[in-house]
């Protein structure tokens, strides 16, 4: 099968180019296995990867125009070649498939992604019913791979002002937590024309999420809550 890989090493290349590799594929092979085979042939090829099972979130790449996590994307999803693998769109390329994710992390940090309590700390655990806890399912499993935010046109245009689907999913993860006691402050912090409202429900994020999470829905919940609170 034919793979066309984006290559760019700033130390030696004037500009980026696509390099073609022919890789023999078999059933059960993931795209990460293909990248590793290419790395074995050409050690100068750079990409991030680690756990190989879709939990560490290192190996997000753009495959035929869509963001995917290489280690859990079966090659069999692509019946015929060529498969074009590029770095995440909209991010500065460091080398080959490795991009600078600083903006993405900055936006995650910007939503104060930690539990805020005002009550004194109890002696044992704070209680939460299974139903209250179930509201967090589909939110806390985010692996920060960046597939969603870097597939979002609004994030491409305003990566410094629009929080992006990932950060907003995390914001809702804490707003939805029965233990969190900072709703008002969190909503105040999200106010303004850019942070939340640049989402135009294009829903690329939902297509891109390798963990089948739904940032668009989370953003909808935030908007509803903001509206409710402003009435």
């Amino acid at each position: 099968m034919e793979f066309r890989i984006y290559r760019y090493n700033p130390d030696v290349d004037q500009e980026p180019h696509l390099q073609t590799f022919e890789v023999e594929t078999d059933r059960g092979m993931m795209l990460r296995d293909v990248l590793l085979e290419i790395k074995r042939r050409d050690e100068s090829f750079a990409f991030r990867h680690s756990c190989g099972e879709g939990v560490c979130g290192s190996d997000g790449v753009n495959v035929n125009g869509r963001n995917r996590l290489a280690c859990i994307t079966p090659v069999s999803d692509y019946r015929k070649g060529p498969v074009v693998i590029r770095p995440f769109p909209g991010r500065p390329v460091i080398r080959d498939l490795v991009v600078d994710m600083s903006d993405f992390y900055r936006q995650y940090h910007a939503v104060d992604p930690w539990l805020k309590r005002k009550d004194p700390v109890p002696e044992q655990e704070s209680l939460q019913t299974p139903e209250e806890r179930a509201r967090l399912d589909g939110l806390w499993e985010c692996i920060l791979c960046g597939c969603c935010s870097t597939s979002c046109p609004s994030f491409w245009w305003n990566p410094d002002k629009f929080l992006g689907p990932q950060a907003l999913l995390s914001s809702w993860r804490f707003l939805a937590d029965s233990r969190d006691q900072a709703e008002e402050q969190r909503l105040d912090d999200l106010d303004g024309p850019y942070k939340v409202f640049r989402c135009h429900t294009i829903m690329n994020c939902v297509d891109a999420c390798p963990k089948h999470l739904n940032p668009t829905q989370a953003i909808g919940h935030i908007r509803n809550l903001m509206l409710k609170k402003s009435v």
């Binding site: 560490c56 299974p130 209250e132």
Partner: protein, 587 residues
């Protein structure tokens, strides 16, 4: 050479559970803390822990830290240090509550308390009924904990050096540690980080084996750095093979699948664990279950066309339980095997999972080594916590759910002990010039050009040798051959040449450094294993099938210099309760 030098109060190498839990204690105290990690913190391998963390909260059944302690001592096959084990089991309870207060999304019981599930090797009343002690967030507990700890560090504003690779420790004239030489992966530039105290929290080394549940990054970097600094590695012959890896691939299928009621069958459909562990059955200790699976396959009762795996059944639990309690392994099975465990059994075989051994440390996280006065003299300025350390709380075999516990308890304690150490040591010590030169020589090691062996080739060969010669069952001749082969591979490391010597994000160079680390750690495993002439915990020798407490109830210490071995006694005296004397270990 002109290079960047920075001074910090504390340097932490590694940003998994142990490093982050130490960092947050120190950052809260307004110290200057540098956390160096070769990957973005939430990519650390803590993220992959599935089943949970043990603490005798008693949310389901009556429980006590003392029973937890007994199980851990027994699970360790009496090689664990009982003072450290008592300490860990007591600390488990406030540690889990603290995690919850910091936001970990634990699953919940109807009472609103933290959900707990049964795990292997757990009992109530000192070896009687099964206990229910493992606190879980579905089967993604490590993810829940690691992300929460990272969040707490953002809040505390810890200083991260993300995607920096640690080359080597720096030392003063007396061998005290003064910081480390690191490399910015993005630019390829070296940098010196001086610190009054340095904590190694670099995790495990599962990549020494070909088939492993461990991530690409688990290359024993901190252990190898300690070795090169003259510190030994303790009990490295004890490597845990997790019974249920995805057959042929190695990724983990959590023990929680058996804790929730799953069981193993062979090609005859027999629940074979009943023969090996009549009482605990599928929830016997991991070493026991892994040996049983390998024995079934060797005796021809394996499943599949090549009869090379057994089957793990959870389909009788119903789709709802699988979806709610085991969503992660359901996803993994579907993706990698095309099997939905809610309806079909999962093909499994043991996979290299966890190293019980590591950098010898005491229960405050201080690195201890035989120097001048006795076997446990503190190395000034050096701490170790987490999988890279050996406290030793796991002895010869770790219980499921005790690994997250270990990293959290001793990560936190290291942080707190460093606070005291800094009070007593207000000044930076002076790095000896020879130490800096040695570190720089290592940094430049793979810059030679020309033809030679490739990293990928030598790494492949090495990992195969380790799998063939240091696996579940070990005999003298197999291991003797293994030692010779690893020595030969170590010699050939000098012939390794990189074709790519560019600076920017050169992953080939990183992999070369990692290979060197893997080989040093691998050598410690085969050497320690060859010399231990008994079967204990995960170290199983058909030629010495019995545990030999008279000669071998002691810790091994491997030194890099001349591949030397030394030994020290097990600490059998707990802090406040009676010692658990060695007994035959049956489940």
């Amino acid at each position: 050479m002109n290079m960047i030098r920075k001074n910090f109060d504390v340097l932490i190498i590694g940003a998994g559970g142990a490093g982050l839990n130490a960092a947050v204690q120190l950052a809260k105290a307004d110290l200057r803390v540098a956390v160096v990690s070769k990957v973005f913190p939430t990519r650390s391998h803590t993220v992959a822990a599935q089943g949970g963390v043990n603490a005798a909260l008693g949310n389901v059944d009556d429980d006590s830290w003392h029973w937890h302690m007994f199980d851990t001592v027994k699970g360790s096959d009496y090689l664990g240090d009982q003072d450290a084990i008592e300490f860990m089991c007591r600390e488990a309870i406030p540690t889990v509550y603290e995690l919850e207060h910091n936001g970990v999304p634990f699953s919940r019981l109807d009472s609103g308390k933290i959900y707990q599930r049964p795990f292997g090797g757990q009992s109530r009343h000192f070896g009687k009924e099964q206990a229910t002690r493992t606190c879980a967030a579905a089967d993604r507990t490590g993810h829940a904990i690691l992300h929460t700890l990272y969040q707490q560090n953002i809040k505390a504003r810890s200083h991260f050096f993300t995607e920096y690779f640690a080359i080597d420790l720096l030392q003063d004239e007396e061998g005290g540690v003064t910081g480390a030489l690191v490399m910015d992966i993005a630019s390829g530039e070296p940098m010196i980080l001086n610190a009054r105290a340095t904590l190694l929290a670099t995790g495990g080394c599962g990549q020494v084996f070909r088939t492993t549940s461990n991530a690409h990054i688990n290359t024993g970097d901190g252990m190898a750095m300690a070795l090169r600094a003259g510190v030994p590695l303790q009990d490295m012959e004890f490597f845990q093979f997790h019974p249920t890896g995805v057959a042929g691939r190695g990724m983990l299928i959590t023990e929680a699948s058996r804790g929730e009621g799953g069981y193993l069958i062979n090609s005859e459909g027999e629940r074979f664990m009943e023969r090996y562990a009549p009482t605990a059955k599928d929830l016997a200790s991991r070493d026991v279950v892994a040996r049983a699976i390998v024995t079934e396959v060797r005796e021809g009762r394996g499943c599949g066309p090549d009869k090379d795996y057994v089957l793990l059944k959870v389909d009788h639990l119903g789709e709802e339980v699988v979806a709610k309690r085991l969503p992660g392994i359901r996803e993994t099975s579907k993706i990698f095997l095309g099997v939905d465990p809610a309806f079909e059994p999962i093909p499994v075989y043991p996979t290299a999972h966890y190293v019980m051994g590591g950098i010898p440390s005491d229960r405050f996280g201080r690195v201890v080594t035989p120097a001048h006065h006795g076997p446990e003299e503190v190395v000034q300025g050096l701490y170790a916590a987490g999988e890279c350390a050996c406290v030793s709380v796991h002895g010869a075999n770790r219980l499921g759910g005790n690994s997250l516990l270990d990293i959290l308890v001793f990560g936190r304690l290291s942080g707190l002990d460093i606070l005291e150490y800094l009070d007593e040591h207000p000044r930076h010590r002076l790095t000896h010039s020879s130490s800096e030169e040695r570190a720089m020589a290592r940094f430049q090691r793979f810059e030679a050009e020309g033809e030679g062996v490739s990293v990928a080739e030598l790494r492949g060969e090495f990992r195969k040798v380790m799998e063939d010669h240091a696996g579940v069952f070990r005999t003298d001749d197999i291991m003797r051959e293994g030692v010779e082969k690893v020595k030969e591979i170590r010699r050939r490391l000098d012939d390794v040449r990189l074709h790519d010597t560019s600076r920017t994000f050169n992953t080939a160079r990183i992999e070369a450094f990692e290979l060197e680390n893997l080989i040093d750690v691998g050598m410690s495993i085969v050497t320690s294993a060859l010399h231990r002439q008994e079967s204990r915990g995960a170290h199983s020798r058909p030629d010495y099938p019995e545990r030999d407490d008279r000669n071998w109830m002691r810790h091994s210490l491997y030194f890099l210099e001349e591949d030397r071995l030394d030994y020290k006694p097990v600490r059998t005296r707990p802090l406040s309760v009676d010692s658990f004397p060695p007994k035959p270990r049956v489940y």
